[in-house]
Amino acid sequence: MRVLAATVVLAGCGYQSGSFESPVRQFSGSLVTVDCLDIAIDRRSDLPDGHAVVSYTFGNRCDHPVLVDLSQVAVLGRDSEGKSFELAAYDPRHEIEALRIDGRAVGGEAIAYESEQSPQQICIDAGGITHAPTVAWLCIGSRPLLTEVP
């Protein structure tokens, strides 16, 4: 009976909506919910080549698959004077594409962004990840802050 129970546990319980927890993924950084997706967005240390790195971790709150599109997300950088500029994902192999994540599943990616100047703050429209009609800007600087982008 213990073998049976262990098997069931090992085979995996689904992601629990709003929990931002998973045994296989750590949801770190700023948390936001967009439609069926619970998303954690965190800024990591910049790479030696100067690219800023943002990690996305997401869990599907719904029982059905949903879209996760990190290729079309609007990402802005801000310099120390508050000036905004666009950041482009570093994707030399053109890998980043829109995919569906299964119901109750979790996933994550870390993406580097290139720009001519190092951003003090990075703002991301999390709503774009699911192609949601509403915007959900999340700004991450030295510490995560939720702000409105002017």
Binding site: V3, A11, G12, V24, Y90, D102, G103, A105, A110
Partner: protein
């Protein structure tokens, strides 16, 4: 005892197919091309564009492939006894025995299936087990039974349950030191009810009866493992 040991073995066998959901196991499979499943080497970074392996989007890989399920469990088969079968085995004719005896078999059952279209699936069954000999002259004799079937069925979700109905056909062979049991055909109708324990795991029960041999029936319990959450029933 047979049932308990069968469940334990079935559980152990079931650990293997923890397949496909999200990126739970992305560290052990990979690669840049979805057709290339060579092992990943450890890399210094997991940042897209800087890592070679695994490729982007392993968390979506399971939905790129066809929905597949694996059922592992135990089945009890009841064979209506057809008299002394030496040389003739069981015939495909209705039961001729007047003694009312029957053979009981406990079998480990493993089946792999996939969707043909929404709601229609096919599966391949493999069963192996032990059948007791109910002949009055030899009540302690046993035989090893193995069978393989191909089934075609319809499925539908009903709340936390999945209901399935299917037809299965195949062959069965048996080996015994005391009795000659040649290969024979099987054709049966079965019903199944599965309960979702998690998005990728079900526990289920099956019952069915032969369509070509009167009095033969089966009942089974099994665990099911699915590559799509809820088998894609909640899309």
């Amino acid at each position: 005892m047979k049932m308990r040991s069968a469940l334990v073995v079935a559980g152990a066998m079931a650990v293997a197919p923890m397949i496909g959901h999200a990126d739970d196991f992305e560290e052990s499979v990979c690669c840049v091309s979805t057709d290339d499943h060579s092992p990943c080497l450890a890399e210094k970074t997991d940042v897209v564009g800087y890592r070679e392996c695994p490729g982007y989007g392993t968390w979506g890989n399971n939905l790129r492939d066809t929905y597949v399920f694996l059922d592992v469990g135990v089945t009890m088969r009841h064979y209506a006894w057809r008299g002394d079968v030496k040389g003739a085995a069981r015939s495909s004719s209705p039961v001729s025995s007047t003694e009312g005896a029957a053979d009981e078999a406990f079998l480990f059952d493993e089946r792999v299936g996939f969707l043909l279209t929404r709601g229609l699936y096919t599966a391949i069954d493999f069963e192996l087990g032990d059948v007791s000999d109910a002949r009055p002259t030899n009540p302690s004799a046993h035989a090893i039974v193995v069978d393989g079937l191909v089934s075609l069925g319809l499925r539908g979700g009903l709340g936390p349950f999945v209901l399935r109905g299917e037809l299965a056909g195949g062959v069965m062979a048996a080996s015994s030191t005391t009795r000659d049991l040649p290969t024979e055909a099987m054709f049966e109708a079965r019903g199944r009810a599965d309960l979702w324990l998690s998005p990728w795991v079900t526990i289920g029960a099956a019952a069915g009866a032969s369509l070509i041999r009167q009095g033969d029936w089966l009942a089974g319990l099994y665990l099911g493992f699915h590559t799509w959450s809820f088998g894609g029933d909640r899309w």
